[in-house]
Amino acid sequence: MSPDRTAPFFEELARREYDPMLRNARGTARIEIVDQGKTERWLVTIDKGNIAVSRKNARAETTIRADRKTFEKAATGRLNVMAATLRGEIVITGDPRFLVQLQRLIPRPSGGP
């Protein structure tokens, strides 16, 4: 089994606490990662650059849903998030701006996907 890349992504996000790239962003998103019929939920709140991450199953104005493989590719910069959203591999309800701003934090391998 390949190592879990999901938790490290969120841990790294939580460690940032503040990122100036998100200073104009505000909102809460529930990120749902589907794996073998089970759904893992992460709650990400951004308030003018301040980032909070939890496993709370709370209400959010935006939900972002993907299977684990897709999510891990996106989180490691090996998948173009916008194209995946247009394909329906990532499903977003609510405010797409949240996803657009979040993907700015993802480091990308040189040359791109």
């Binding site: 247009l86 591999e89 701006r97 657009v100 990308r108 791109g112 996907p113």
Partner: protein, 686 residues
């Protein structure tokens, strides 16, 4: 109506193109249908009564989002036996709503079979242009109340749902109404064609009713027109052109999913109802004195999409501003790079120019602080990623050799950049206007650094770099034996030496040495460039000159509006007025709607401007042209908290007032009287 006899209505990036009967019967390559988010959701929509198709009596373009077709059954060209008449009233929203009414003019009731054939090919806009084959699977779902057309390819799915308010028999190919219409009576039904599946931009909550949507759109258009400055003048045609521009600009507004409902100018109708960095920025600049909120939304949306990494497929670099964003199937499956695509070399410096110009007009310093990181990244891009010739100039060369853009400046056709003898230079190419934009961006960036970012060090550095760039540019690009600036430097740093309209953009940017400005102005108004209507993209006499060549001889209204601005900047008021007069007089021939481009023929030769055949009208920056020309003629220039008015109007205009100009001063009026003898200025060029 567009020029090809097709009827188009739209709202945001949803639009319907039909024939004059209201029918849609698209082949894979033609352009009719219901489109949204770059996908055709309906490619067939044909009305028959007792098996007969309709014949159009007239079409009422009510608003840009609604239209009414008056029809009679029968397709003959001779007199039609009009026992029945048919009215289709159609309004676009999230899909479209159609009210179909049939009037019986006889004493006796009639039994009728009313049929609407429906189908969808779910073509991507790019496929409609190129006739590509689909890779997914079609399906149709029928129940008593609804017809659902679908297309699926892996996780990608798009659906269209069709429902009627009156009883209908629904089958896989459409809807049938078996009806009886009483003598001198009528029958009608509402039909909704809605976008049932689309992964992005799906509105939350129940869709609004068609009546509500139409009321809202009408109210919105009224508000938009009320908020714009009022124009009073002796020249009625100019008033009509101004009104046309405002209405068209309203139609061109588009809300990408990330702007929270606020809108920015899309590039053009109908094929370019999308976010384009360059087009949205230039149109926002043109409309600043009239609708400044467009600039704010443009700056925020482009900031959100600013490049963060290196991606060769999308020609993306950190700090680079988007060229084009698309939502169709080919983009979704990465067969096209528009998710988004970054292949533009001018949008990034122009982003900083717009941010500064917006602050100068509105005093909105908060947005300058809000977008500080983005503006700094854009300034960094100029030095770190655009110097492809390693000589300190902005240049471009695509890394996506397959579907990327060859020419990443506004003259983006394949043959637009050429030497006098017609040869095409290699890559990377450093076109001259890019250096002007970079110079302007640095100086404006320095101002922003001082007033909002409190970074004196950056301001000083940018000013030093700008001065140095200007010095080198005036040396390296100046064509001594022609007395103008070369179009570009080729990869061997040789001058691409043809004479072009780009010289006008250089005046606008301020990069031109004072000592050279007069020669440049003389060229712009000279016989090789100035046609009598406007400045040609490429001068007569150059190897590739062609008066109806897309970027090699035609006159582009938007180009001329920036040239006029440039001439004013260097104090050539009369020359600027002569260009404004020529373009606005041309507008009269197009009922106030300037085309993207028209022929570069000498004015005296054709007497009227010959439109360049183009599929896109209105075009955003053509729509913005009369607005910017009003600004340049009145000499409107913000200075501190005030608006300077320094009119130099063509004497053909007479008296002109622009009332309630919005800005940091609140609202202000500007007046002028036509005193510039433009015929003399135009004639002096010989």
């Amino acid at each position: 109506m567009s020029d090809d006899g097709l009827i188009q209505i739209l709202h945001g990036n949803t639009f319907v193109v039909s024939d004059t009967n209201g029918d849609i019967d698209a082949s894979p390559t033609d352009a009719t249908g219901l489109f949204t988010y770059d996908t055709r959701f309906l490619s067939k929509w044909v009305l028959t009564i007792n098996g007969e198709r309709m014949n159009a009596l007239s079409v009422d373009d009510l608003q840009y989002f609604e239209t009414r077709f008056f029809l009679v059954p029968g397709t003959g060209t001779v007199y039609i036996d009009a026992k029945l008449s048919v009215i289709r009233r159609r309004a676009v929203g999230h899909g479209f709503h159609e009210e179909l009414t049939i009037l019986n003019h006889e004493d006796e009731p009639v039994e009728l079979t009313v049929r609407l054939d429906a189908a969808s090919d779910f073509a991507d806009l790019f496929e409609v242009k190129d006739a590509l084959k689909k890779k997914g699977r079609y399906s149709t779902e029928v129940d008593r109340k609804k017809l659902v057309l679908s297309y699926d390819r892996q996780t990608f799915g798009r659906s269209t749902a069709i429902t009627a308010s009156e009883k209908a028999q629904i089958d896989e190919q459409g809807l049938t109404f078996e009806i009886s219409v009483p003598g001198h009576g009528s029958w009608s039904t509402g039909i909704d064609v809605s976008i049932a599946r689309l992964v992005i931009g799906q509105p939350l909550g129940p869709p609004e009713t068609p009546e509500h949507a139409q009321r809202r759109m009408r109210r919105d258009l009224d508000h938009w027109l009320d908020a714009a400055p009022r124009l009073e003048c002796d020249w009625d045609a100019l008033k009509a052109t101004y009104h046309r521009s405002l209405v068209d600009l309203a139609a061109l507004r588009f809300s990408p999913p990330i702007t929270g409902g606020r809108s920015l100018p899309a590039a053009g109708l109908p094929w370019f109802m999308a976010l384009f960095g360059r087009d949205s920025i230039l149109t926002s600049l043109q409309s600043l004195p009239f609708a400044p909120e467009l600039a704010a939304t443009t700056l925020r949306a482009l900031g959100d999409w600013q490049g963060v990494g290196i991606d060769d497929f999308r020609d993306e670099d950190p700090g680079r501003i988007v060229h084009e964003m698309r939502y169709g199937e080919l983009t979704a499956f990465e067969e096209r790079p528009h998710s988004p695509y970054y292949g533009s070399a001018d949008a990034t410096p122009l982003y900083v120019v717009l941010l500064d110009e917006y602050e100068r007009w509105t005093g909105d310093r908060a947005i300058v602080r809000e977008l500080e990181i983005e503006a700094r990244a854009a300034l960094d891009w100029i030095d770190q990623y655009a110097d492809l010739q390693h000589n300190g100039y902005v240049a471009y060369q695509r890394r996506n050799e397959d579907t990327g853009l060859e020419n990443q400046c506004w003259k983006d056709s394949w043959d637009s950049i050429s030497f006098r003898d017609g040869r095409l230079p290699g890559f990377p190419r450093a076109t001259c206007e890019l250096q002007g934009y970079a110079y302007d961006a640095k100086l404006r960036g320095a101002r922003l650094a001082r007033i909002a970012w409190k970074d004196e060090e950056l301001a000083t550095r940018l000013e030093r770099e700008a001065a140095e760039l200007k010095r080198r540019f005036n040396r390296d690009f100046w064509v001594e034996d022609g007395q103008y600036f070369a179009l570009a430097l080729d990869p061997h740093r040789a001058q691409v030496d043809s004479l072009t309209s780009n010289n006008g953009h250089l005046l606008w940017s301020g990069i031109v040495d004072k000592s050279k400005a007069k020669a440049v102005a003389r060229q712009l108004l000279g016989p090789r460039l100035f046609s009598g209507w406007g400045v040609r993209t490429l001068a007569e006499g150059e190897g590739r000159y062609n008066p109806i060549g897309y970027h090699v001889g035609t006159v582009w209204p938007f180009d001329n509006s920036f040239i006029a601005w440039g001439l004013r900047r260097y104090g050539f008021k009369e020359e600027a007025a002569a260009i404004a007069a020529g373009i606005l007089e041309a507008a009269e021939f197009f009922d106030g709607r300037l085309p993207e481009a028209f022929g570069g023929y000498e004015r005296g030769e054709t007497r009227y401007p010959v439109q360049y055949p183009t599929a896109c009208s209105p075009q955003a920056w053509s729509t913005g042209t009369p607005l910017l020309l009003l600004r340049t003629m009145l000499g409107l220039e913000p200075q501190g908290e005030h608006l300077i008015v320094d009119p130099a109007l063509p004497n053909t205009i007479g008296h002109l007032e622009l009332l309630d100009i919005p800005g940091r001063w609140g609202r202000i009026d500007a007046f002028g009287r036509g005193r510039v003898d433009v015929r003399r200025t135009q004639a002096r060029r010989r």
